[in-house]
């Protein structure tokens, strides 16, 4: 009798343990991984071979299957609002966690598996890109203002509107008074468009390429499109402090910060992509990773050259230019940057 009591008590404990495990099993087996993994994880939890144990296992397996089915059936259509709400299903602590994870990439920790855990969000990528665009425009403007304070002979007239200067050299007059042609788009627009295009088109291309290769390899599944966008979006976060630090007008320091930030960001991308790419041929893997790093470097360089053009350290100002300087420091939120002589 005591043995039977022992058996039933044991059964109850095992049941609660197994049922407690099923939520995790349902989560991890939701996407690419085969469902049998979830069941295997549950079965491993019990080490006994009592007949009663098998029944409990089956029940918990069924519970896991049911939960999974419910979860999949709950995916609403893309025309409903709640479909998009599912991409913003993150808490503050999770977003901060993901940002930290992108700032400090570690070789063993895959960003997607470790931080995203099958719940990619669009909040991070969207607002990080927006912040980066505004910070670029603001600091680019500030750099120009600070440069003008150091060297008042730099004369510029801010220009905001498209096409108003058609045919008239403006905005950045060189030291000899020669005009240079103007890019008539406000910097905020340029920054915004280029960053958003990068953060959406490059992941699209990458995802498409990986899916195409998946057909060739048939091993570990690639990341979903949203996960790729997430990785790229969060990897752009490190550029924000880099851009702010670029206010310091020491050129070698700027290049140092740029290299550091690019290194961190690209390392995060490479560590994330490595598990997916390593099963492929060496050539394809190397080509893919180097393309990813190259594109990232191009973005950083583009930001530096377009918004933070190195100004001529000293030049002689012709007298008529010096006389036409405004007495207060003209600040403007948007300045077009031209291909200036630098």
């Amino acid at each position: 009798m005591a043995a039977a009591d022992e058996l039933t008590f044991h059964e109850f404990e095992e049941a609660t343990n197994l049922l407690a495990e099923t939520p995790d099993a349902a989560t991890t087996s939701r996407s690419d991984q085969p469902t049998s993994q979830g069941h295997v994880a549950v079965a491993v939890g019990s080490g006994d071979s009592y007949g009663a144990e098998d029944e409990v296992e089956e029940e918990s397996d069924k519970a896991a299957l049911l939960q999974e089915k419910q979860h999949q059936q709950q995916q609403p259509g893309f025309w409903t609002f709640s479909y998009y709400q599912s991409f913003f299903d993150v808490d503050t602590s999770q977003v901060l966690d993901r940002i930290k994870g992108s700032l400090l990439p570690r070789p063993g920790h895959n960003f997607v598996r470790h931080y995203l855990r099958n719940r990619p969000d669009l909040y991070g990528p969207f607002w990080i890109c927006a912040t980066l665009a505004f910070v670029l425009a603001v600091t680019g403007n500030l750099t120009l203002v600070l440069a003008q304070r150091r060297d008042p002979s730099i004369h510029y007239s801010p220009q905001f509107h498209k096409g108003k200067q058609a045919g008239r050299p403006n905005a950045w007059q060189g030291p000899g008074g020669q005009g240079v042609t103007v890019l008539a788009l406000p910097p905020v627009t340029v920054a915004g468009i280029s960053i958003y295009c990068y953060a959406w088109l490059v992941p699209l291309a990458l995802w498409g390429f990986l899916r195409w290769r998946k057909g060739v390899r048939e091993r570990v599944g690639p990341y979903t499109f949203l996960e790729t966008v997430c990785v790229y979006g969060y990897s752009l976060f490190v550029f924000i402090p880099m851009v702010v630090l670029w206010l310091i007008p020491v050129p070698w320091l700027q290049w140092l910060f740029g290299a550091l930030a690019l290194g961190l960001s690209a390392a995060g991308l490479v560590f994330t992509l490595w598990p997916v790419v390593r099963e492929d041929t060496r050539l394809v893997a190397a080509a893919l990773l180097s393309t990813v790093v190259l594109l990232h470097a191009l973005l950083a360089m583009g930001c530096k050259l377009y918004f933070f053009q190195s100004l001529p350290p000293e030049h002689v100002a012709p007298p008529h230019q010096a006389a036409s300087l405004p007495t207060n420091i003209p600040l403007s939120p948007t300045l077009p940057r031209s291909m200036a002589p630098s």
Partner: protein
């Protein structure tokens, strides 16, 4: 929702609302923004007149003299309009996607009304700029803009934060911060040429 100001013989539903009542409602909301307390007036009786008035005022003040069009470097009227309304819509969408239980127009109303401190800052900046250029001029403007920026953030957070679940408040408030930061930057860097 209606304030008890209808005349006794007024059927109420058929006659048009008197202008004074609307203006008083807008003015009352201005007061609520200037002295933010935990009150629901802005949310319950939302209207978009106040934000429209403020946006138009701000856009008008941010224009430069178009006499010398080559030196015209400030944002045009339409650009300020677009930035303000596009930004407000984006923040509202973000707030709703995060699971906030505030309606679309209520959120627009709150964000628009909370531009009031920044509009006041713009007025003060323009007056200060009349006094002439100089570093003191700039410091005064910087101080005023910073104070008004903080005021805007505090006012809008007081109204908006309650509509979000507590673990996502920071996520909903950050875009508001960015929005008012951009507007403050436009105000601070404004110089009439």
């Amino acid at each position: 929702m209606a304030e008890a100001e209808e005349s006794p013989g007024d059927p109420g539903t058929a006659s048009p609302r008197p202008l004074m009542r609307d203006l008083k409602a807008v003015g009352k909301k201005f007061m609520h923004v200037l002295y933010p307390r935990k009150s629901n007036t802005l949310l319950r009786d939302w209207d978009l007149w106040g934000p429209l008035i403020l946006c138009v005022t701000l856009a008008l003040m941010l224009q430069r003299d178009s006499a010398d069009s080559e030196k015209d470097g400030g944002p045009q009227f339409a650009e300020v309009f677009v930035i303000v309304w596009f930004g407000a819509v984006t923040i509202t969408l973000n707030s709703k996607l995060l699971g906030g239980n505030i309606s679309f127009f209520q959120s627009l109303c709150v964000l628009g009304y909370c531009i009031l401190p920044l509009t006041v800052a713009m007025l003060i900046c323009r007056l200060v700029l009349l006094a002439g250029p100089g570093p003191i001029n700039f410091m005064v403007r910087l101080f005023v803009v910073i104070v008004m920026f903080a005021w805007s953030i505090v006012a809008s957070t007081a109204f908006l934060a309650d509509s979000q679940p507590p673990n996502r408040r920071a996520l909903a408030v950050y875009p508001v911060f960015l929005f008012y930061f951009v507007i403050s930057w436009m105000i601070l860097t404004f110089t009439p040429q």
